[in-house]
């Protein structure tokens, strides 16, 4: 079985990713997250006063609008909106600003596979730049399962179309371990869980847990990247 993928990466290699801080002036927080050629621009406005009818006024509510690159808004966009809304609701501290609405608007600039994970990463960064209180960060990764059960990370569009099945997984960001004692490691492993999982295609149970393992390992790399990018302060800030 070939180890090299179409674009020359090995199975565990992620595409080069970048995050631009606040490219939009008017939004309270925004981020442009790029993973290879998949680029998503996320803008956060909020907290704004008042909640929509039907939402719980004792908590902050999150509203997501997904704008595709081309075409009209259809069922796929509604599905993405619902997944994003529920993922972001689980990472935000909703009781800090009750009876408010935070709007997250996503614009797909480029789609070359792993679109949903890229969008989730972009939203998370935009929420941090906007100063919305979060419990922890959400780190998203796309995994694909090949015919022989091999797992590849950060699938491109061409790979996704050929794959038997793929999964989009979101994990909470890993803790920075100051001291790597064995006892600490065990605690951290048992606390590592899954926030969101969306799968497409048929895969066996072992393949799925394989994906989760590889995804967890890769998520620590993305967590480190997020930690450095999101911490960088503009000159002049205290």
């Amino acid at each position: 079985m070939e180890e090299i993928r179409a674009d020359g990466r090995n199975p565990n290699q992620l595409r080069p990713f970048s995050c631009t801080r606040n490219p939009l002036d008017r939004a309270h927080g925004s981020a442009r997250w790029a993973q290879g050629d998949t680029i998503v621009l996320a803008a956060v406005y909020g907290p704004k006063p008042g909640t929509r009818k039907g939402e719980n006024p004792e908590k902050a509510s999150i509203e997501v609008v997904w704008k595709p690159m081309t075409g009209q808004i259809g069922k796929q966009e509604k599905e993405y909106e619902m997944t994003l809304k529920r993922t972001l609701q689980s990472i935000c501290l909703l009781t800090v600003h009750p009876n408010t609405t935070t709007s997250v608007i996503l614009q797909v600039v480029g789609n070359d596979g792993s679109l949903l994970p890229c969008a989730i990463n972009a939203c998370c960064a935009a929420l941090v730049f906007a100063g919305i209180p979060l419990k922890h960060l959400a780190v998203a990764i796309g995994c694909g399962v090949l015919e022989d059960g091999e797992v590849i990370l950060d699938t491109s569009k061409a790979e996704e179309q050929q794959l038997k099945s793929f999964a989009h997984l979101v994990f909470p960001n890993s803790r920075k371990s100051a001291s790597s004692k064995a006892a600490n490691q065990k605690e951290e492993d048992s606390e590592q869980g899954l926030i969101t999982s969306i799968t497409h295609g048929v895969m066996s149970e072992d393949d799925y847990f394989n994906c989760i393992e590889r995804g967890l390992a890769a998520s620590s790399r993305i967590s480190d990247f997020m930690r450095t990018t999101l911490q960088k302060q503009a000159p002049g800030d205290a």
Binding site: K78, M82, S90, S197, I198, T199, G201, D207
Partner: protein
């Protein structure tokens, strides 16, 4: 939240208040009191799903239909076939169009001007799963290669929304496909192809296809939705439980226990052990659902031969 824990701690207020009032005012505390005794408000065990009934052929004018009851959740699925010409990329395949409707009858939260947000999402996921599970072989929906094929319109109507909407929608769609019979077709005088009903009169027409046939279905997918609350896993949640518990996992398995889909949109962080528990519950549920479906198919075939 503080008020709820105070109420339960003091006990006096809880004792004096009527059960129904307590249920409405402190829904989370009400549910947690039950879960401490390993029971749910409707007296089920946490891992138990609601009784399911399948009635095939509920809509006589449709080519395939099924009415499903999953506890109080009721879904009606119907399939109508239409002749169309196949696209050039796939001249020997038919196609399926899936639509999930939530009319205002199903829930007080749905109004004509305020459609349910969850309806287009369920439509999309249902379509993905029916296609990706390999249950349908689109080549079977072909009539005449390159000239005519069947377009199946699958409409699933939610008649009563009481939780686990996706599970009920999937069973109803699958049941409707097992009931589906491709009708006889003949060519009219003007060259138009039309479908012939069961008891069509004395007109002797040439039939294009020999006999009515059913679709051959392999790898039928079944699903189970579990609500996750702290340490408890509640299988097949009702609408009340779904509104209190925000985290849920939907697992779809096919006949070889392979995972067709695991949908966990957000919610609290779930450990691997919890996911494994949900998968094993889904496996048990798949076996039971398959039995229920096969029983109703047999019962219907017996009726038809009489």
């Amino acid at each position: 939240m503080a008020a709820e824990t105070e109420a339960t701690a003091v006990g006096g207020l809880a004792g004096e208040m009527e059960v129904e009032a307590y249920r409405r005012l402190f829904p989370l505390a009400f549910l947690e009191r039950h879960l401490r005794e390993s029971v749910r408000p409707d007296a089920r065990r946490p891992a138990e799903a609601r009784p399911t009934t399948v009635a095939l052929g509920a809509v006589s004018s449709a080519h395939g239909s099924a009415l499903i009851r999953l506890g109080d959740t009721a879904m009606l699925a119907s399939i109508k076939l239409e002749l169309t010409s196949p696209p050039s990329e796939a001249p020997d395949e038919g196609s399926v169009v899936v639509e999930f409707h939530m009319p205002p009858i199903c829930s007080p939260l749905v109004r004509p001007g305020r459609p349910a947000e969850v309806a287009p999402v369920i439509t999309k996921v249902l379509e993905d799963i029916l296609m990706s599970s390999g249950m349908l072989n689109l080549k079977e929906l072909c009539l005449i290669n390159e000239k005519a094929c069947w377009l199946a319109y699958l409409d699933v109507y939610c008649l009563n929304a009481d939780g686990s909407l996706f599970d009920a929608a999937l069973i109803s769609a699958v049941a409707a496909f097992t009931h589906l019979q491709i009708p006889l077709v003949s060519v009219g005088d003007d060259g138009r192809v039309f479908t012939v009903g069961r008891t069509e009169g004395k007109i002797k027409c040439e039939f294009v296809n020999r006999e009515k046939r059913k679709l051959k279905l392999n790898n039928i997918p079944f699903s189970l939705t579990c609500a996750l609350h702290k340490d408890s896993v509640l299988a097949d949640p009702t609408a009340e439980e779904e509104s209190i518990i925000e985290t849920s996992v939907t697992i779809v398995l096919d006949s070889s226990d392979h995972i067709v889909s695991i949908q966990k949109p957000g919610g609290a962080v779930a450990s691997m052990a919890t996911i494994k528990e949900c998968i094993s519950l889904a496996k048990d549920r798949r076996r039971k659902l398959r039995e229920i479906l096969m029983d109703s198919v047999e019962a219907m075939e017996v009726d038809q031969t009489d």
